[in-house]
Symmetry: C2
DNA sequence: CGTATCCTTGAACCATGTCAAGCAATGTGG
DNA sequence: CCACATTGCTTGACATGGTTCAAGGATACG
């Protein structure tokens, strides 16, 4: 269950073009290629455990992971989902005293490549553009968090749920039938939106009856985006 | 009301020792000293306006500012307070397309020194330690946001209010009589905690009757920290 | 000294959480 | 491949924390 000490698979983990790594030069990319180690995780596996030292950062190659924080009551709050190409963990490499307050958990079976921390430092030192690129990612994440915080503080559950469904479609896309490429349990929706499982179930039923979504078991598809958006912005 | 285009005062704005600037060398500090411009703002003034381009970052010299986000209903959500020595705005300098989704507003009369963006880039390029230092700050802020988000999603208003009072004491300290060095209106408390003004008023009265705090007009003092902490962690 | 802002209290309403129970789907071991 | 266990889904009934509305008092401000 500890971070990164699973079986190593040597499969080719292609680092996507459009990520944080885009400003690295050939040498630096090669350094990464040599340094990285690929791992496979199963659904439910803990990739980074809250409070445990992190010794590198990772790039997600396949599958989906969730960043979660456990509240005082032990309840899981989902902070965000990572998709293929997303990078995580660099935050906790900069300061030895900064242990992660969150855990990273596989939502599906997933593959990632792990890069030991010394390479992060090397790249920051040798390539200021890379440093700036990381900071940009951090800034975007911060804006995202601020939006979430404001939503949770000010919006009703129904509005928040609508907004999250839209976000998920935007981030993960849909399959040929329009179903979201991310199948969550009702409990995960609840832990993401910040509500009770029963409330999610009831609201999903409402959305369905209003023609906003369709459901096929765990798969959900948005049928009327405009109406959902309208709901997400309603107030009072 | 726009950012930074106020009267310039040439008062000495001492950059505190224990900040993001601690790893700069003499030359770089001197560069900053020459580049900075000092400004004074009055209570309620808008220092950075949501959606408007930011052309530099600032270091708060005196007073208190709040970072706020306006929800769809126009309601203010207070994201955090900055205290003397805190730095803000660097986030929005890295990417021309990243306009701030938040506003920065003076809670009290306050003074700050403003440093144009080119110097930020220069320091990041010339001094990787500085880059890392900024990233550390960003990481800490991120952890803080995650904690807030989880609290707001999972805790009752009473617990959150207790926790915020404790945070404020820790961040801003108290005067000789134990009163918090940050006097907020009930509405500001409400916008910080994520609740209605009336609820804050009622809960403050409860805290007072339980001996946790004392109140003198807008000034609040914690009298029983342990009990407050206990309340902040209760669940169910 | 009058106007604006802030604070307080009461009452009514309702969105959401909680509890309980049953069903459906999925997975596991014999 | 079936039986059993586990996990997830759904619904109803109920309790309640919190918002909203309304009104009045207190305090600060020009």
């Amino acid at each position: 269950m500890t971070a990164f000490d699973k079986n190593i698979s040597l499969e080719l983990c292609n680092i996507p073009a459009n990520t944080i790594f885009r400003f690295l030069d050939i040498d630096e990319l090669q350094e990464l290629m040599l340094a990285r180690k690929c791992f496979q995780y199963k659904k439910g596996d803990c990739i980074i455990q809250c409070g445990h030292r992190v010794t590198g950062f990772f790039c997600l190659n396949s599958g989906v992971v969730k960043i979660v924080k456990y509240g005082d009551s032990g309840r899981e709050q989902i902070i965000k989902f990572l998709k293929t190409g997303d990078v995580y963990g660099y935050q906790y490499l900069l300061d030895d005293d900064q242990l992660p307050g969150v855990s990273v958990i596989a939502v599906d079976d997933c593959g990632l490549c792990f890069i030991p921390s010394e390479h992060l430092f090397h790249m920051i030192r040798s390539n200021p553009k890379f440093a700036i690129e990381i900071m940009k990612v951090a800034t975007q994440e911060q804006e995202e968090m601020i939006n979430r915080l404001t939503d949770i503080a000010q919006k009703k559950v129904k509005q928040r749920l609508a907004k999250r469904l839209i976000e998920i479609e935007k981030t993960f896309g849909t399959d040929d039938n329009g179903y979201l490429n991310l199948a969550l349990t009702r409990e995960e929706y609840a832990n993401f939106v910040g509500t009770a499982t029963e409330t999610v179930i009831r609201l999903m039923a409402v959305f369905k009856s209003e023609g906003c979504i369709k459901m096929e078991k765990r798969k959900i598809a948005i049928r009327n985006m405009q109406k959902l958006q309208q709901i997400s912005r309603e107030f009072d």
